[in-house]
């Protein structure tokens, strides 16, 4: 078996520093001209390597403006901060929820992190001295933070140490009230739901999974986008003050960008068929750039859509927790057609053009950024054959593209595809003045490119690669596939679409999913014979609501509901009963 290698997940090119290459669990610093590997976590002490492996593949790597510190996030809840020079791991901290992305403030003293739950927290660059989360190079494996994140009692203790010890300038400006807001004191008999851990400060929160965010160049505003089509612009660091919303997406938003030469403009993309351009301060939607038709042919990674037949649902109710897979398919033979899902992955601008990629798409796209033209600009593409994982613009304006070198048409089987990985991990692209993109990887091959293509490749086992799960967002972000997303935070089941004008009445022909308890996908059902008979897709969740005529709208109903309400916790038991009665 020929060895397989991790694809590169991130590359960073900046003048005056080595190239930062992240692949799998590891980080390498490579000399920008000679291609020599200067530092690599492969050479780090064993306990750091252990920690890296345990955390899972690195999903986010951010370098601060002064090129001093590197912040990484992986699949666990740890925030790691490295000193770039020497690739020294300074410390790691436990975050309250699984992070999705992070960024550093201009002064490099604060790290802003968004999480799956929908919250954004900010952390001082260095945790306060004396906290258990620090790692010194001579120490053995880092102590786990003793407080468990989430909703356990110990979080209350952390909440007492609410104010970050590091005096950032923003701290001084804050009013007492603001400080209290950012670190909500847990009311005595219960715990607040947005309690930070590890000296974090709550910046803001969405009631939805946060997909992407950015800080404006002057760090005065924070733009956050979620799965429920919202783009929100709030003050930073006073995230409690919303400046505006950019509303108009009808599908999840997965990428946002503010061009450096047009600081008042916001470009956004997600599941919609077009990119949207906004004047973000006012929230005004300025124009759409249609991309779906141009992009669709290049979407290589397809998503299975599950269809279920009526007879199968009860067993599936049990299996609903795991979407990703095979368990869902065990029951009844149902068609699992594959379809292409559009999810804009990353947006950047270069020389009056918008560059973007889509998750699972094998091309880099460019489209002219023209304001006020009547005809839709054409979308140029350069195809690489295999899905693009990321792209970076280097100081010389060349675009470096990371490819999923292991991907093959036959789907993550043990089929390697006959191409050797060398020569496929990275492509270099040139953007011409007219927007055309061309692959120049073969015409100019600087030593750094050779190094990345070959000697810097890190071997990966089959399990490692399977755990990469590079395209899960294609399943988890859209709302109409009948899939649940598997969070512990019951966000989002099957869903509605945002329409232009809300409809008056919806008839109950479909089953609706109605979660009720925390955490799990509860089946709070309303009893209905019809519902049982007309189950169609969706994970056997519940039952529809009875017809309107059956409503008994008066006091009695209210008191009945009140009764149910005060039984509160009994709802889970109720659901059990209902289910059994149904069968």
């Amino acid at each position: 078996m020929s060895p397989r290698f991790f694809p590169y997940s991130h590359l960073e090119f900046r003048s005056g520093i080595p190239v930062i290459a992240v692949s799998g669990f590891h980080i390498q610093l490579i000399h920008a001209s000679t291609g020599a590997v200067l530092f690599s976590t492969l050479n780090s002490p064993p306990y750091i390597q252990e920690s890296l492996k345990k955390s899972g593949p690195i999903r986010c790597a951010v370098l601060d403006n002064s090129n001093t510190h590197l912040v990484t996030l992986a699949d666990d809840k740890k925030l790691k901060v490295w000193k770039l020079d020497g690739l020294q791991l300074l410390h790691e901290r436990e975050l309250p929820k699984r992070p999705t992305s992070a960024t550093c403030t201009l002064d490099g003293q604060t790290i802003v992190v968004a999480d799956k739950f929908g919250d954004v927290f900010s952390y001082p660059l260095h945790p306060p001295p004396g906290s258990e989360s620090q790692i010194s190079t001579s120490a053995p494996l880092p102590q786990e933070d003793s407080t468990t994140p989430g909703e356990s009692i110990s979080v209350y203790a952390t909440a007492d140490i609410t104010l970050p010890a590091v005096k950032t300038s923003s701290n001084k400006r804050k009013s007492k009230k603001q400080k209290l807001h950012e670190n909500p004191p847990a009311p005595r008999s219960s715990l607040a739901s947005h309690v930070p851990t590890s000296d974090g400060t709550l910046v803001l929160g969405h009631t939805s999974l946060l997909t992407c965010f950015l800080l404006t160049a002057d760090n005065k505003y924070i733009v956050t986008a979620d799965r429920d089509e919202h783009i929100r612009i709030s003050w930073y660091p006073q995230g409690f003050c919303i400046e505006s919303f950019c509303l108009g997406h009808t599908q999840f938003v997965s990428a946002v960008h503010i061009p450096s030469d047009r600081p008042g403009t916001l470009i956004s993309g997600g599941g919609d068929a077009e990119l949207k351009i906004w004047d973000w301060r006012s929230g005004k939607h300025e124009m759409d750039i249609p991309i779906l038709d141009s992009v669709k042919p290049y979407i290589k990674v397809k998503v299975k859509s599950y269809t279920r037949t009526a007879s199968t649902n009860f067993t599936e109710e049990q299996a609903d927790r795991s979407r990703e897979g095979t368990e869902d398919q065990e029951s009844a033979p149902h068609a699992s057609e594959e379809q292409a899902v559009l999810a804009v992955q990353k947006i950047r601008t270069l020389s009056d053009h918008i560059l973007f990629t889509v998750t699972g798409g094998s091309a880099l796209f460019s489209v002219a950024f023209l304001n006020g033209t009547s005809t839709a600009p054409s979308v140029h593409a350069v195809n690489f054959g295999k899905p693009v994982l990321n792209f970076t613009i280097a100081p010389d304006k060349r675009i470096w593209v990371n490819i999923d070198l292991n991907w093959s048409e036959n789907e993550n089987g043990d089929d390697y595809g006959d191409d050797s990985p060398a020569g496929k991990a990275i492509r270099v692209v040139n953007l011409a003045a007219d927007g055309q993109l061309s692959d120049v990887s073969l015409t100019s091959t600087p030593p750094i490119l050779d190094a990345l293509q070959e000697k810097c490749l890190i071997e990966a086992s089959a399990e490692d690669l399977a755990a990469l799960n590079l395209y899960s967002s294609l399943q988890s972000l859209p709302k109409n596939t009948g899939e649940y997303d598997g969070d512990d935070d019951d966000l989002g089941n099957a869903t509605p679409r945002a329409t232009g004008i809300p409809k008056n009445i919806r008839t109950n022909t479909r089953k609706k999913s109605q979660g009720s308890g925390g955490g799990k996908k509860e089946q709070g059902k309303l009893k209905s014979q019809k519902a049982v008979a007309e189950k169609t897709k969706k994970h056997g969740n519940q039952s529809v609501h009875r017809d309107v005529e059956d409503v008994v709208p008066h006091e009695e109903n209210a008191s009945e509901s009140k009764l149910l309400k005060s039984e509160g916790p009994a709802t889970e038991a109720d659901s059990e009963d209902i289910r059994m009665l149904d069968s």
Binding site: P187, T207, A494, R497, G519, N557, K562
Partner: protein
């Protein structure tokens, strides 16, 4: 079994229900909800979790030129709300309110004040989509009457008042606008009061101040006009009011 035919009191606001919602406030057709009112007028009072509409309907004749909306979040039929906007996620309840409003409008055509043309209801998830309905600073009053206490700690994130949601309420409420909260659950009252007090864009306002400002009618309605409120009285429970004014803060 009989009780399973009732509408459940809870609906998970984090789920994606099959609700339609406008993609932005500019796309919201308020006139469809308030046909008897000039198009272009928007709600000013919003009753979140309006239940059976008691508050909105009581307030309607007091503020005949103001649109009031009730929001319902029960699953099922969606009813749309009006200028006094009631927002409620529960289906059957929203349907009930819609019917009740229709009946009131028909019975009172021609009435100068109690015409009920200014009240309606929307079935919506206010926790997720409030900003889809209301523009910045467009409301002058927000009502959270007897909200679901979500007693369990792990359910606290579903409470309608939270540090993260308060930012949205402050966004839709204009400076000077008032948030009215009332509950018979002391813990919840403490929770809401603490969170609102700690939120930089709200400052507490006492009942006396509100009455002095001429909002006594509203306060009375908050205490007594909801089904829930009446029930609390029948059971000799206590009600705790907590009101806050939306303020501005410097950058």
């Amino acid at each position: 079994q009989k009780r399973f035919y009732r509408q459940r009191a809870h609906a998970n606001p984090f789920s994606d229900h099959t609700l339609d919602y406008p993609k932005s406030p500019q796309h919201m057709d308020w006139h469809a909800h308030y046909p008897g009112v000039a198009p272009g007028k928007k709600p000013e009072f919003a009753d979140i979790g309006c239940g059976f509409g008691g508050l909105s309907i009581s307030l309607a004749p007091l503020f005949p030129d103001t649109l009031i909306l009730g929001r319902v979040l029960l699953l099922g039929i969606k009813a749309l709300a009006g200028l006094l906007s009631g927002m409620e996620i529960r289906v059957q309840v929203s349907q009930y309110v819609k019917d009740r409003i229709t009946a009131l409008r028909t019975a009172n055509t021609g009435e100068p004040k109690a015409h009920y043309q200014n009240v309606s209801i929307v079935r919506a998830n206010a926790m997720k989509f409030l900003a889809n309905y209301f523009e910045k600073a467009s409301l002058s009053a927000l009502f959270f009457l007897f909200p679901d206490p979500h007693f369990k700690v792990r359910k606290h994130k579903a409470r309608i008042i939270s540090p993260t949601l308060l930012a949205e309420y402050a966004f839709v409420l204009r400076p000077g606008g008032i948030v009215y909260t009332i509950t018979d659950v002391k813990d919840l009252h403490d929770w809401m009061k603490t969170h609102l007090e700690n939120f930089p864009l709200f400052e507490p306002v006492s009942e006396e101040e509100l009455r002095a400002e001429g909002k006594g009618d509203i306060v009375d309605a908050v205490y007594t006009s909801t089904e829930e409120g009446k029930k609390v009285e029948r059971n000799k429970g206590e009600k705790w009011l907590a009101c806050f004014r939306r303020i501005e803060v410097p950058r």
